[in-house]
């Protein structure tokens, strides 16, 4: 079996003493792979991601990275947000450099690194634009570049493409796969889209509804080495989308 970089053991989250958001989530995340967390809305997907990010402390259980328990956020995990979470008063360059600035990297150094990643996500020429001058897709590219600059091993993405339109989503998905061919990252990706999960992930973790717990784990085993635009035509892809839908159906009222 693959190298496991991150592990959750019996993670549970209880809000306000009584509302159970997550229960007994034990999950292995293999190094260098993309794990998708899939489930109906309100099933605790984002809560699980925030626990892994260290933003929410689990009520029970632990999260371990390379067998070391995490306490709070750390430089080994970088988040990409659903609503982009860009600073509206800062330019693309300043936004992308934010993580490095927080780490105390000198201005020259962080701008150099940031410009590299701005280029990598395809935003060259927009360095001095402000978020409100960008389209949704470009804003998320900024968010992605910001997460990449800090060079953490694990990339956490919270429904990153749900706030952009369908065409842009497909483009961003393709670009993400291309990018992951170059950048060796472990990605944990929250989504409510079965197609997105099957398209992107090596491992799809299906969460059942309230309280969220793991219902099933599916390994798509789709060949992504070849042409990316052919993935959606693979029989395996179509089969899996159907299969996951029939298993998810029972959790959606």
């Amino acid at each position: 079996m693959d190298d496991i970089i991150l592990k959750t053991e019996d993670v549970g989250v209880i809000y306000d003493g009584s509302i159970v958001a997550l229960e007994n989530v034990s999950l292995n995340v293999p190094t260098g792979k993309l794990t998708a967390i899939l489930g109906p809305s309100g099933c605790g997907k984002t809560t699980l991601l925030k626990v892994i990010a260290g933003l929410i402390e689990p009520s029970t259980g632990t999260v371990k990275i390379r067998d070391k328990e995490i306490i709070g956020p750390g430089p080994d995990r970088a988040l990409v947000f659903q609503d982009f979470a860009l600073l509206p008063w800062a330019t693309v360059l300043q936004n992308v450099a934010f993580g490095l600035r927080a780490q105390g990297v000198s201005k020259r150094e962080r701008e150099k690194t940031s410009l590299n990643y701005i280029k990598e996500v395809g935003l060259s020429g927009f360095e001095d634009k402000y978020p409100h001058q960008l389209s949704g897709g470009m804003r998320q590219r900024t968010g992605l570049a910001r997460a990449l600059t800090v060079n953490s091993d694990i990339l956490l993405m919270d429904e990153p493409f749900s706030a952009v339109d369908e065409q842009m989503r497909r483009k961003l998905q393709e670009d993400l796969l291309e990018l992951l061919k170059i950048e060796n990252k472990t990605v944990i990706f929250v989504t409510h889209s079965i197609e997105e999960a099957v398209y992107l992930a090596d491992q799809v973790v299906i969460l059942s509804g309230r309280p969220g717990s793991i219902a099933e784990i599916v390994y798509p085993e789709i060949d992504r080495l070849g042409e990316i635009d052919l993935i959606r035509r693979q029989p395996r892809y179509v089969e899996l989308v159907d299969e996951i839908w029939s298993s998810l159906k029972s959790y959606v009222e």
């Binding site: 988040l79 659903q82 609503d83 509206p88 409100h132």
Partner: protein, 266 residues
């Protein structure tokens, strides 16, 4: 056909422009009412209302008086110090209330109470404490203007998106850095609005304070002119005060518009 249409439309356009200038331009409206004022004044129907032209001469006289310039200097001084203190103290207090629920619970009832209270009633109580001098006027200005800074800052801070704060935490910012780098800049539109409203209130405070005390600054002048029936000077002073407030508020609004681009994007 086309020609006759154009011929017809030309004068109507001109008329439209004339109408717009006549009825909507503040300049014409001012001229109109100034004319009515001058007419009533010239008729001498009311001793309290001298003709506007007389007030104009009184204004020129006013500018030569050292008493006027003393009052002006005092007003500017107390306004500046009072407003400055309101902003310097109000913003940190508002930030504190925004980030700490406990502070908010302790202070918010008082802030809201003073925000809506008729502060004018308190001024006579301030006089024995601060004396009949600058300090009382400064205290009045602060009491008029600080609450709205606090309330607006607090509202701005509490409405900062959670995801921005989470972003800061994710990238390892300390609590302090999150406040300085993310929360306060994100609350800037509300803070600026609070500052603008506090300027408006401080203008009222500085005048009301002097008038209630009635012995110093413009208040003293108003009192003197009224008791000696120097109505031209009285009105000249009123106009000076109005123009001053109008100018200051106009300047602040201009400044606010410059910073308004933040708000669009949130």
């Amino acid at each position: 056909m086309l020609n006759s249409d154009m011929a017809k439309s030309k004068p109507s356009n001109r008329k439209l422009l004339f109408n717009r200038l006549m009825w909507t331009s503040p300049f014409w409206s001012l001229i109109f009412w100034a004319g009515i004022w001058e007419f009533i004044g010239q008729m001498g129907w009311m001793t309290l209302l001298p003709p506007l032209s007389g007030i104009w001469f009184a204004f020129a006289e006013l500018l030569e008086q050292s008493a006027f310039w003393d009052a002006f200097a005092m007003t500017a001084r107390t306004f500046g110090i009072g407003l400055g203190l309101s902003i310097l103290v109000g913003i940190p207090v508002g930030v504190l209330m925004g980030i700490s629920t406990r502070t908010d619970k302790i202070l918010s009832i008082w802030v809201n109470l003073f925000l809506s209270a008729p502060i004018t009633a308190v001024i006579p109580a301030l006089m024995p404490i601060f004396g009949i001098a600058d300090a009382t006027v400064i205290a009045t200005v602060i009491l008029f203007s600080i609450w709205v800074v606090i309330i607006d800052t607090q509202a701005g801070i509490t409405h900062v998106k959670d995801s921005l704060v989470e972003m800061g935490r994710n990238f390892g910012c300390s609590r302090w850095k999150i406040i300085i780098w993310i929360v306060i800049p994100a609350a800037m539109p509300e803070i600026i609005t609070g500052v603008r409203l506090s300027v408006v209130r401080a203008v009222k405070g500085v005048i009301v304070g002097q008038i209630v005390i009635a012995l110093i600054g413009f208040g003293g002048l108003f009192n003197t002119y009224l008791s000696y029936f120097l109505m031209e000077r009285f009105w000249a002073l009123i106009i000076v005060v109005f123009v001053m407030s109008f100018t200051i508020i106009g300047l602040v609004e201009m400044l606010e518009r410059r910073i308004a681009f933040y708000a669009r994007t949130r």
